[in-house]
């Protein structure tokens, strides 16, 4: 049985079609990543699956229970770590966890023991009895994750778990998530707009764009399916002939994309293609500043399937 199943989910907010037919399935024990820029529909998908909002149409099951028909049953199955921290600032870390456990119907010694265990697990034992108001961003985030795990759920939703954290805290959070997934044998649905995060944590990834899933697979599969390598050609700064250059490279390589004065393209074999590309540009008298080649990244996968550059789209929407 799938731990999470989404079938053709649609959801519209006034003028925006947030979900336009989202379908995917997450197997038990799997870490599944929804990858896409802000506004692509990742968080809306999670809000539907966590019963916070209803889909206009489509079906969703968590732990085999329908989120629309039996929201109360579904809420017992999962833990939810929202994009924005849900910590009660005036309460201490421990008080936050105790109340969350009580909402889940836990009480007494088992609850206190579970709270102690979690505080240790996320490294907040020392800060447990201080008001969360004074916690750093990383500490609040770790408390959020502990809040999602109090009732020992089988499924954990992690909505943008590292957004707003500095790189060091982000790397620490990745280690944390991997460890928790192991220790609590969790099925995790992770949303992220960091490619490296999906690459690092998720066993399978679905790329979301404009309310739809455009491709799905393991990060390795997705990269392998691109057949080849990516080439970046940086033209000299004052070159006024970028579109001409784009045309020339387009005659040699696939998926050419112009980003400022950098041309990016996909070729079957970088070592063979680079001399050809450089020769053609040189013949046309277009000066080149640098050329790099790389094995395809999820970034290239994203570009290939959506026709848009990940970083620039993200900026445009944020």
């Amino acid at each position: 049985m799938d731990a999470i199943l989404a079938e053709n989910l649609h959801k519209r907010y006034k003028a925006v079609q947030a979900l336009d037919g989202v379908s995917f399935a997450v197997r038990e024990g799997e870490v599944f990543g929804l990858l896409g820029p802000n506004g692509a529909g990742k968080s809306t998908t999670v809000r539907v699956l966590t019963t916070l909002t209803r889909p206009d149409s489509g079906r969703a099951l968590v732990g085999g229970e329908d989120v629309v028909a039996h929201p109360a049953r579904v809420r017992r199955m999962f833990g939810y770590v929202a994009q924005d921290s849900g910590v009660d600032w005036e309460a201490t870390g421990r008080e936050n966890l105790l109340l969350q456990g009580r909402i889940h119907g836990m009480s007494g010694a088992p609850l206190r023991a579970r709270v102690d265990e979690l505080l240790g697990l996320v490294g907040l034992s020392e800060a447990a009895d201080r008001q969360a108001r004074g916690y750093s961003g990383g500490m609040k985030r770790r408390l959020d994750i502990a809040l999602g795990l109090v009732h020992k759920p089988k499924v954990l939703f992690l909505d943008e778990p590292t957004t707003g954290l500095d790189p060091e805290a982000r790397a620490a959070m990745w280690v944390e998530v991997e460890r928790l997934a192991q220790a609590e044998s969790l099925t995790i649905l992770l949303t992220t707009h960091y490619l490296e995060e999906a690459d690092r944590l998720a066993e399978r990834v679905a790329i979301v764009s404009k309310g739809r899933i455009v491709v799905e697979g393991t990060p390795e599969e997705l990269k392998r399916n691109l057949h080849g390598e990516s080439v970046s050609v940086e033209l000299s700064e004052q070159n006024g002939r970028v579109t001409e250059a784009e045309k020339i490279v387009g005659g040699i390589a696939n998926d050419v994309k112009l980003d400022g004065h950098v041309l990016r393209a996909r070729v079957p074999n970088g070592a063979q293609a680079i001399p050809v590309i450089l020769g053609a540009l040189d013949d046309a008298g277009i000066a080149v500043a640098s050329v790099t080649t790389a094995r395809p990244s999820l970034d290239d996968v994203y570009l290939h399937y959506t026709g848009r550059d990940f970083a620039s789209e993200d900026e445009g929407r944020a």
Binding site: T53, R75, D84, L99, I103, H104
Partner: protein, 258 residues
Amino acid sequence: MIGQAVRQTGWMVLRQLRNLIRQPIWVVMMIVQPMIWLVLYGQLFSKVPALRGGAGSYVEFLAPGIICMNAFFGGMWSGMGMITDLDRKVIDRFLAAPASRFAIVLSQVVRAGITAMVQTLVILLVGLALGVRVHGGVAGWLVVFAAAFLLASAFAGFSNGLALIFRRPESMIATANMVGLPLMFLSAILLGFTLMPGWIKTIARFNPVNWGVEAGRNAVVYNTAWAATGEFLVFLLAAMAVTSLFATWCFRSYQRSI
């Protein structure tokens, strides 16, 4: 189901009270403000015997009025707590867990009621020092506390419903002022019923603020119309139930927006 909701309400009320006490500035404001009102209004109108409505002093006449004014405004503003919880996504966290929506509302409503009772105690103690006597005896004290609790709770339910619909402090403040000030002046808070123009009297009969004032004033000053006092308290209890259910229903509006 119901047992679960009751337990959750209890824990959430404890959370509210604990968080309140952790903001000492609020506690000080909560205690000082009603004292200022009682002393200020009491002095301002003390030389106008007609306003006393048969009480020994204007302060004695005024004390139940100030108690209700406090309770009512406290309730009207209680939605601000809901907005803070919405902003900090605490509510989303509760909603994605099996938290009863009614318990979330009730915790705000009960907090407003308890706050109003603490303020009532402060006002009565200051009043005693200024010569106010509770002529209704023990029953009188109980009625005043009940009226304060119910009045604050009834308007807290309304306020929390607005908070869930508007979700923005500016809209809350505007509505609280627009609804709040007229309701205050359409009641017998500051002067006796007999001095009001006829049309205001008519409106005041349907004004929950006035139900609280009438009940409280009988308990403190007149000690006569106990049947009517009981009726007013029952009306307030009904108002509290209606507005709390209204606020619970408003979660639909909120959840459509997220």
